[in-house]
Symmetry: D2
Subunit: 247 residues, 4 copies
């Protein structure tokens, strides 16, 4: 018999991914995927210490073999458990540069994560999400969430690479949403419009006013609420910004 449903989060770092991991760990064992163990070890330890259950697996989400190996481990560890929630939070960082300076390699690297990585992850989690949907049609339907950015809907000058990858991710999210909604899987795309308050961003934004940045814990709470929506109330896209953001 399959185990209790789990949540799978990629990628986990010190910011949004960690907050999402903690929030979903209050209800499910969580699997944390990231390329480098240093990105998930502290979060996993913290969750386990507080009575939750978390495991981390070093995974390159842009590499199908790496992801498949991770999911074999997950199936063994959790006895083929269904997946209640899967969060795709991986991204490259935005870099401003002229399209004339943008190398094909860098352009491809972004697609490796936001395009191929998102597809590979989706294909890996959808069977487990579908299984959870069959077990549990009404309460907290299986949920797949993709984290987007301002660049998911606006492609500014000097942001050709980042915007391409984020537009691509949004397209993938919508197509999966439309294909799998009738099968009970809730797919949502979040346009995270603004800087997220993480150790990383705190370093380079001067005069950081809290209301000018998004709280990663609040993103996690919003994702949790998306997961709580019933089959009769699916939100497929949501925007998120701090009160001081211009849009």
């Amino acid at each position: 018999m399959a185990g209790n449903p789990i949540a799978v989060i990629v990628a986990v770092g010190p910011g949004t991914g960690a907050s999402i991991a903690r929030r979903f760990a209050s209800a499910y064992p969580v699997v944390l995927l990231a390329r480098s163990p240093e990105n998930y070890e502290a979060v996993a330890a913290d969750i386990n210490k507080k009575g939750g259950k978390a495991i981390g697996i070093s995974t390159d989400v842009s590499n199908e073999s790496s992801v498949n190996a991770a999911f074999e481990k997950i199936n063994q560890e959790f006895n083929g458990a269904p997946i209640a929630a899967a969060i795709f939070n991986a991204s490259t960082r935005p870099k401003r540069k002229s399209v004339l300076e943008l190398s094909v390699e860098e352009y491809q690297n972004g697609f490796d994560v936001s395009g191929k990585g998102a597809l590979i992850f989706s294909k890996a989690v959808l069977p487990g999400l579908l299984e959870h949907g069959e077990d549990n049609p009404t309460q907290s339907p299986p949920t797949l969430i993709f984290t987007g950015a301002t660049a998911s809907v606006k492609s500014n000058a000097l942001m050709a690479g980042f915007a391409t990858h984020k537009f691509a991710l949004r397209a993938l999210s919508f197509s999966i949403a439309r294909e799998f909604a009738p099968k009970g899987v809730h797919v949502a795309h979040a346009v995270v419009d603004g800087a997220i308050d993480t150790p990383f961003t705190q370093g380079f934004i001067a005069d950081w006013a809290s209301e000018a940045s998004i709280s990663s814990d609040d993103i996690a709470e919003t994702y949790w609420n998306l997961h709580q929506q019933s089959r009769r109330c699916f939100t497929n896209e949501i925007d998120i910004r701090p009160m001081m953001e211009k849009w």
Copy 2:
């Protein structure tokens, strides 16, 4: 001293409005505005019986004097209480007809509600929302939610009237959102895409499958979650549809 914060909902009927009223009544005294008392009396009685506090006021939202009179009553009844949440749920019904058959009067009537009504309501609640924001900056910032429809983002053939009014409402919502976010007011527009399961719609949709319709209670829960978002995580637009909806 001002009273405890309240929630104000227009329009209340047997469907979404009633669900929203019940949900927000779990935290606040609620004021229910609708043209006809028969639209709010049963809901208000039910809330009061269950230990909440609800009053209904017969109001024509498209008429500034009527709305101002209602808010005078509200201020008296609740001792000038700030407003924690205001929900604009008024609408005309969609009617399919050629633009050649659409009378100027009918076209104006829809704007009276979704345009002028929404402006009049917004002007009436914003001072109370701003006041609540000053008292209570971080927990459940003051929230103004507008209920839109598929026609808010797609203007189909034979739907010129309804789409005009819903596009107009969305424009108003976004402008208010951008103006008042820096002052701590959270404004959200909901694209409710699909039929809502109400006594009215149950009558004309044959073979009603629950997963083909939106639950009004679930809309209310989603609105409540929008209200719970912090100043560091405002969602300004959300879509809502049942799992079987094509989009």
Copy 3:
């Protein structure tokens, strides 16, 4: 027998409307509608002097009787001629103000033009456009163009009124486009994003660089090209901006 096809333009002033009138006058007799004769007299005289044919009719586009009276005159003057092109170029001016300062009357006045006026004009011209389509299915199908603005797609703070009216106009345009395309009428909405170089704007924009503004003659040429599109290549929305515009 009906006369040769005509073009009808509302509203005509010294800027875009005059340029459109001159451009379409190279192919059709043109009818210029504006509230005040001073808005069309010089343009009409200029067209007539140069060998074209233009008449102006003082018309309040927001008033159905006034528009109907104008079209009676048009039918008499042109012997019930079909309409090859109709351009809705009427608008109120954008004004920045808080939604708290926006009066219901001002809000209604904008809708009188961009909402009701556009509907009234559309209902008046569609029969003549349909007639032209039957006569002339392939060359320059009958064309109805609506002039929008940045505010047609973005509703900024302090622009609630203008954006509401422009969103409304866009909704009307799309619904008419979808209803009448299968009948051979080409309907297009132009998002004119930027300041237009007219005597009026020249007055208040300092250091006017020509490439920072849109040429009204170039808008007219673009509208003309829309009119030249065949039934097998309808453009329903187009954006227009000068090369220096940020968007």
Copy 4:
């Protein structure tokens, strides 16, 4: 001294590409790029026979070395001529399949063309476009056009691959448009919404009514008109559909 300005078109086949090549050949020597010579040979011969000038170069647009080699040939052949117009018309074909059946390889192949190919082509043509802009600031500013599809703005179920690639292309187009407009380069993205009437599509669409399909010659004419727009009237996005198309 540099030669007269040229136009460069990728990819050229029997449909849209050939029509565009013929239209731009009326004003410029044209370079036709396609993977297989059989795709451009007949068109080039036809243009040359009729007094125009066309050369074809076998090029894999997704391969940077192949594109660079092609542009070395172009520079030799045309003596370093500036580029008046560049049209990116390459695409993979849409294929309906579940995201679960969509291989990473196929997903990558589409990005090779619509993502990497579009970037490689843009980087190759932008220097020549900028040069033309300096020579010729006002008449027919240098123009870069990308051909998109319905899937550029709507990501349907079973179309995850095609939509991803087309969303990506649109993002690239907008970023380049915003970066290079202030330098006088006109970049436009065309949402071609509907089947194009080509020898290929005629084969699989039964009961082909001409008004249900887009004419490739008419697309070419619309692209030509975009190219004619002045620096004071840039259109950055346009949609194109036949009159019978639902949208």
